[in-house]
């Protein structure tokens, strides 16, 4: 293909034809799983449909799509990690204390949503916030758990809340 084709903004259809197969192959190499790769490639193009962009050239489109797909991989990876940790926690719990299947799914979704919201924060700030608000631990308990002062915990909670207020 001649790069001059990109002198005019290409349609998503054109982009799809030009890029879908290499993107899916690239994702498959990263994820080691064809089904996930297909899903994420699809996601990437859906996002492009939602917010169309102009690309000056074929390599520029490729760089953009690769960056976006990379972000989607990280998303998927973090969601999976949380899902696995939650399943491990449930498995370790006595039968009687386990929440219903529906509630288990709701909790998982909440944990993933919270992670998405807090992921750009320093880990300790995010953890202090989630321990304090999610499990109602006192400042002293959180401080002992993180090995920081209670003053630091207060700062972390404020920092995380401010971040949420400005992001939501």
């Amino acid at each position: 293909m001649d790069t001059s084709d990109y002198a005019f903004p290409p349609s998503v259809e054109t982009l799809y034809c030009d890029h879908h197969s290499w993107l899916q192959a690239w994702l498959r190499r990263r994820l080691g799983n064809a089904a996930d790769a297909a899903d994420l490639a699809q996601d990437a193009f859906l996002r492009l449909l939602a917010t169309p962009r102009k690309f000056g050239s074929l390599p520029e489109a490729r760089v953009y799509l690769r960056t976006m797909a990379g972000g989607l991989c990280v998303d998927l990876w973090r969601r999976r990690r949380i899902e696995q940790a939650w399943l491990d926690t449930l498995a370790a719990q006595p039968e009687a204390r386990a929440p219903s299947a529906e509630h288990q799914a709701i909790v998982l979704e909440a944990l993933q949503e919270i992670d998405r919201l807090l992921r750009s924060l320093p880990v300790k700030a995010a953890h202090a916030f989630v321990m304090s608000v999610g499990s109602g631990m006192s400042e002293k308990e959180v401080a002992a758990e993180l090995g920081v002062t209670t003053r630091m915990v207060r700062k972390y909670v404020a920092q995380a809340m401010l971040h949420c207020l400005e992001t939501l």
Binding site: R78, R81, I82, Q84, A85, W86, D88, T89, L90, A92, Q93, R97, A98, P99, H103, I106, V107, E109, A110, L111, E113, I114, D115, L117, R119, S120, L121, P122, V123, A125, A126, H127, V130, M131, S132, V133, G134, S135, G136, M137, S138, E139, K140, T150, V153, R154, K155, V157, A158, Q159, M161, L162, H163, C164, L165, E166, L168
Partner: protein, 334 residues
Amino acid sequence: MSAADTPPKRQQSATVPGHAVLQQAAEWFALLQSGEATPADRAAWQAWHDSAEAHRIAWTRVDRVGQLFQPIQKTPDPRGAVGAYRSATIAVGRRRLILGLAALAGAGLAGSVAWRPSLLPGLFLAWTADHRTTTGEVREVLLGDGTRVWLGTASAFDEDFTPALRRLQLVAGEILISTAADADRPFVVDTPQGRLRALGTRFTVRLEDGDTRIAVYDGAVQAHAADGTSMVIHAGWRARLTPQGLSPAEPVSPASEASTRGLYIAENDPLDVVLRELGRYRTGYLSVSPEVANLPVFGSYPMTDPDRALAMLESVMPIRVSRPMPWWIRVGPR
């Protein structure tokens, strides 16, 4: 300052809480959440919350963030769920830590020092006033001349009697006054928005949202606004003194007199109005979901016992009262 150029400014600052306001909200949240907040802290938070529309809007956003955690709080083992989150995010942290710190460097909390003192004047005056009540308290005071004053929740006034004048200065909240007759010494109540002169009477004065609200039950009150205008408010009427002057008088409801004594009489009042009034009697945050905010409420409720009033409301209405945190009450559909 003309009245014409202020409303748009007010509107703007009211609808979009800026960074500074969000930062204050976050700091308040951290304090209330810490388990170390004193009653004075909660009163100071309440004053902050009530003092501006932007603060209230910011706090509804705090509420929204809090709601994200509800499924975790409700699970039989919240610590287990939080532990799962921590173990899943701890190892991926290093790179994020560096990126996160860079992103947050500009959004530090250094500004927090700047706003605290601005809260102080009103609160400080209330703490040092001659007569005051804490949140949830209602008290009767007998003054030297035989005048009776009932202080509503979180209210304060100063008493300044001279041989020529009986003067009260309302500093916070609401008072109901039943004046004793004294032909030689006029009785006045001063508020930040003007002066009220009693003409043999029983009336309430309330500071709310930067206005003075007056309701007269017996006799009459002459109200003088800061801009020099004045009017006589007769028994059965109420009016407001605002920074822009006096509002026209309207008929008064008997319920508002009862309120100074800690009883709320609801006659087809929307639920959010009743809850807002109840909120004045307790420290902490009370949120109501939009689906139930407009449900009509009937009956009388003891405001001095907010937990009982809430239980009564819950028993007669299709609502559910939950307490995500000890200082936080949320009212939603059942």
